[in-house]
Amino acid sequence: MSRTVEQKRALWAWLFLALPLVYFILVRFYPTLDAFSISLTEWNIVGEKTYVGLDNFIALYNDPVFWIVLGNTFEYLALGVPISLFLSFMVAYYLDQIRFGHGFLRACYFMPFLTTAVAMAWVWRWFYQPVPIGIINMTLGQLGILQLDFLRSTTQALPAVLVPAIWAGLGFQIVIFMAGIRAIPQTYYEAAKIDGAGPWQILKEITLPQLRPTITFLVVMSSIGFLRIFDQVYNMTQEGEGGPLNATRPLVLYIYKAAFDDFEMGMAAAQTVVLFTILMIITVIQLRLLRK
């Protein structure tokens, strides 16, 4: 009796999973393998694919622009993750201690998270314009300070593009940090206070260690986010080129250009394989480091 019931239920299970399995195989697994296989070919999407082995990867290795692009991608990561985590933790830590206007302040910090990256990229692009139209430079001008070049500078452009990305993600990180802080049992703090620990010590000895899972989660999430930056760069630089002089061009934009401007599908696929590998390595390293 129980056997047939179990068999019947297993049948239901397969029935429920039939369509999803087909979907995941067709739309996730097959394309993944396909990306790997295309990366070993030369193909302009119209003609025939020719197998070229690892030629695309060798060409990438010898492509100076690719190394610039890779450098930019890591710069987004290396600046974006610490800055956004530091800021969001500071805000969350202090916002947690505030009662008056708490909901309102939290909303102010959270709202950018709900905006559309493309839309806000254009808003920021406007802000960064030189006088007489850019708001930031107009303000500087009124204060009598010489204007900044922002998007027209090889050194300032990348941070300028990064700011909207950090800005938009901050709200999410703050909310997650606050939830993490709330989850720390009150008794820990009370015990520490009895021991005569100051606020700095409590932060160092209790809050931060207790937040380790939260921090791990946020570091991994934001790393992936910054490594995949695209919307902002595409919409904030001239003709979406990631200029000036490739100063802001990240890997995903390079992939996009190779695939959908030049139709070098093999080369583009090879770059996605590189991106995949980087994401994999970074995630694994971070999980290892932060779990200790």
Binding site: T32, A35, G103, T115, T116, V123, W124, W126, I133, A259
Partner: protein
């Protein structure tokens, strides 16, 4: 005591300044959308003669309304599909015992490691071969189910006691009815969290819609805004109006349902 309140006020002021800084881009965006072209470079937030003419122009002379509806339609369809299927998969993987269960779960979970950027090229080729380029199906198909949602839902179904389901079985409901009528109603917080993330993700999605659509009738808001802004670059007030229209729905919903949304984001963020 006095010391503490001084400290608190200081913190409050600093946080408030930070909050204002955070809101500045959004405020300026809306403010500019109510200005005429010759006032837009004033720093004044509220124009001396505010106007809705930009909005009228946008809806009458551009395809913004179409893009808005497209975005809404795509985000809605994808969200409904994700809610249904991810819940069904999560439920099945959690509450049914059968061979291969673990393998399927790990396989689905592993898709989380594959970046979309890697899939867009094969998706593009697939769409081309199936004639799905520049079509609604082409826009929608990559998002219909997600590994993230399956994981989230499975986590939540763990907390649903089997007794309830068994009781329903005794009442003679079949497995699909149990899922729809009993199980789903017990994980509504998770469903709403998943709905928020999925809708937001699709409303703001840029890369895939940019690649798969080519006719302006099929653009979603981000793609439309991007091409529109390139064309209207001389008229920043129009770009700001477009950006405002793109951001308004999500911001409005947030203002109405603030508490639920933050709770949902925490749920989805932490469990997921």
């Amino acid at each position: 005591m006095k010391n503490i309140s001084v400290r608190k006020s200081f913190i409050w002021v600093m946080l408030a300044i930070g909050g204002i800084v955070m809101m500045t881009p959004i405020i300026f965006m809306f403010s500019a959308s109510f200005k005429y072209n010759d006032q837009i470079y004033d720093l004044a937030l509220i124009s001396s003669e505010p106007t809705l003419s930009n909005y009228f122009y946008l809806f009458e002379n551009t395809e913004f309304l179409t893009w808005f509806m497209n975005s809404f339609f795509v985000a809605m369809v994808v969200t409904i599909s994700v809610l249904f299927f991810d819940a069904l998969i999560g439920y099945t993987l959690c509450k049914f015992k059968f061979k291969g269960r673990k393998l399927i779960f790990i396989a689905i979970l592993s898709t989380l490691m594959i970046p979309t950027e890697m899939l867009v090229i094969p998706w593009y080729i697939l769409s081309k071969d199936l004639g799905l380029l520049d079509s609604f199906i082409g826009l929608i198909f990559p998002g219909l189910m997600s590994g993230f949602g399956v994981f989230l839902m499975k986590q939540f179904f763990e907390g649903v006691p089997d007794d309830y389901l068994d009781a329903a079985r005794i009442d003679g409901l079949n497995e699909f009815q149990i899922f729809i009528e009993i199980a789903l109603s017990m994980v509504t917080p998770a469903l709403s969290a998943l709905a928020i993330f999925t809708f937001l993700g699709n409303w703001t999605a840029f890369l895939w819609p940019l690649i798969v659509t080519s006719s302006a009738d099929l653009y979603t808001i981000p793609v439309g805004l991007s091409s529109f802004s390139g064309e209207f670059q001389s008229e920043w007030e129009m770009i700001m109006t477009g950006a405002a229209v793109a951001s308004l729905p999500t911001l409005l919903v947030f203002l109405l349902l603030q508490r639920y949304i933050i709770r949902g984001v925490i749920l989805g963020g932490l469990k997921g």
